[in-house]
Symmetry: C2
DNA sequence: GTGAAAGCGCTAACAT
DNA sequence: ATGTTAGCGCTTTCAC
């Protein structure tokens, strides 16, 4: 295979503009100490020759690689892809991350790593050595894995941790899980539900706890008893089946369920169907993931729309700013969610329930259909 | 920002193994002229030190960048993402491409380019200069764009063209569109349909033609008249509305429709619903994309499952083989599709239709529900 | 079969 | 404000 050279290099530009390599380099990198007229001369040459810096060469000598690595959990990501369950997390990350990267001359590379394996460290080191990313975007559960953050920090790589508030290197971003859970709960309470169940996510995800907190707080604020309404899941379909059953199999069963992700939501729908429960007449369901499986469900589900694209774009911005020496934000960056109202949530069926409604009627204002 | 060095370089390995840089380089690249004992010594050092070659450095001096670029149409990809219509083409490309790349120490970078813009050339050149990919995977409509293939070829980059059989540099891969259309048509004919319509895709996609060919051939083979049963679409939802209406608004309307992609399928479903047609009782619908929107439709749709992941994986293999100097395949690589039978296709309603059925009854063998 | 030297395209550090 | 020099980590070329 023939040796492939860059067709137009910084040398050609320098020669064409009649300046030194360094001056061209400064212009490319928007560094100071270049007179406007020089600037222009160089930029004109760049334009004329169609010069584009080689990322590889930039990385070789400089401190930047112009590469940002998006790290996702291998097992879960591959399973989602294979099963074609319509989880579009990676797609949305690409949408937000790639486009933002492109604005700044960066590229995003998706990398999968097994969190729970013994060779996380080895895998991560290999990825770092091969790619030399300027920054890494971590998603749960990687974002709270101290082994990973420590290694990245040691290598002086900027870290954006999505879905983690733990102390640690880099900056945190969240999708306001607590607020979202509160929003979801309030939505259902406003519809008149008193038995609002929550199917929580895997315990080792920080955000699972936040959602429980938000739900608990909102239940308390609404004067509702949350006794027996919390079911623990692990984000898998199977766990969703068990959890849903648990919420329905009790003396005073849930009339509305908030489900922490799309796969468990599928399970909840299936359990409801199997039991002959009509949605939303007999049971309201609200999903914490607005993925295709949820949007195209029958009936279309009311859902918390997680701004994955946006939060990823913000993560890219933070990393690039960090590279430029700007001070990272003190506080975690919180990207608010939206509640998309569809037809899976409605007032509970009139019956014994309604007889025991509190004196205060449900607020119709919060129940407007979007 | 501190200058970041590779922690373990080829030098460390060479020193540790007591050999020269070149010997290590040869081992890394599986080149000849290294004695087995040397091999082992070097490999042991690599293992011990946890050495991983830097892609940037490899690219700098050598002919390989270990980077494969997956090129998609910017406008359509972003629209699909934004609208969240559940098209998972990019996801599936990543699944197949990334994993295969990983097996060989390559990485895949997704890049978006506007096909129809004036600056295709400029955008492509910029991407090439920045990334220096060893190979590029082209999807329609890029795969048939001579401007693109010519530039890539000139830069000595391996080209895998998915969905194009036109003469040109690089190798072609298809998902057997003609055979798939034939399969779909036969499936419907076997159910007893005589008026099987096809909503074709955009004319400037080669595969649109192949599908028409397959459908035509199968119709002829089944002794069916295809008069008035071909409607042209352009893959957009809107075009799907018009095309569906055209197939239904005629003296002898279609009782089954094959739709060339998921968005037009959505349109077909909506038209049917609006007209009060029950699927599959009044109208059978078969989609040419098995994306989430199709799988989770009500009823779930019978669909051609395009093996995007697999064809991308094959493309990666071909590119890597090409880099290694292996001779590319003479013939286009054809990855077969599968027909996923769901509940949107059934025998046409018994009525005037059945009275005029040909003497030969529909073959039940081909109508087995999967 | 192995090693030494040269240089890929670019930037950091140090001149001027 | 601009230029010069010395590498970055690796592969290529060519000598041994």
């Amino acid at each position: 295979m023939a040796r492939r050279r860059q067709s137009v290099t910084i040398k050609h530009v320098a020669a064409d503009a009649g300046v030194s390599l360094q001056t061209v380099s400064r212009v490319i990198n928007n560094e100071p100490n270049v007179r406007p007229e020089m600037q222009k001369r160089v930029r004109d040459s760049i334009e004329k020759l169609g010069y584009v810096p080689s990322i590889a060469a930039q990385r070789m000598s400089g401190s930047r690689s112009y590469l940002i690595m998006a790290l996702n959990d291998r097992e879960r990501t591959i399973a989602d892809w294979r099963d074609q369950h319509g989880t579009d997390w990676v797609d949305q990350m690409l949408l937000g991350g790639m486009l933002k990267c492109a604005e700044h001359g960066y590229r995003m590379i998706v990398e999968l790593i097994d969190t729970h394996s013994d060779h996380v460290e080895r895998e991560l080191l290999a990825a770092i050595a091969a790619i030399q990313p300027d920054g890494v975007i971590l998603t749960p559960p990687h974002s709270q894995n101290p082994v990973i953050t420590r290694i990245l920090d040691k290598h002086n790589i900027s870290i954006a941790r999505i879905g983690s508030l733990k102390e640690g290197p880099g900056f945190s971003l969240t999708m306001d899980d607590e607020g979202a859970a509160r929003l979801a709960t309030e939505h259902l309470a406003a519809l008149g539900h008193r038995r609002i169940g929550l199917i929580a996510g895997a315990r080792d995800y920080e955000l699972s706890g936040w959602r429980i907190d938000g739900w608990c707080a909102a239940m308390a604020d609404a004067g509702l008893d949350s006794e027996g309404l919390l079911a623990e899941g692990d984000f898998s379909y199977e766990s969703g089946l068990t959890a849903t059953a648990a919420l329905l199999d009790q003396p005073d069963p849930a009339t509305a369920i908030i489900v922490s992700n799309d796969q468990m939501t599928r399970a909840a729908l299936d359990v409801a169907k199997q039991r002959g429960l009509i949605i939303p007449d007999d049971l309201s369901i609200l999903s914490f993931d607005d993925t295709p499986v949820v949007r195209f469900a029958q009936p279309p589900l009311t859902a918390i729309q997680q701004p994955i694209a946006e939060v990823t774009a913000r993560a890219v911005e933070l990393i690039i700013a960090d590279r430029r020496g700007q001070k990272p934000p003190e506080e975690p960056v919180v990207v608010p969610v939206r509640l998309i109202e569809r037809t899976s949530t409605a007032s509970p069926a009139i019956g014994v329930e309604s007889a025991s409604l509190p004196s205060e009627p449900p607020s119709p204002s919060a129940a407007q259909s979007g």
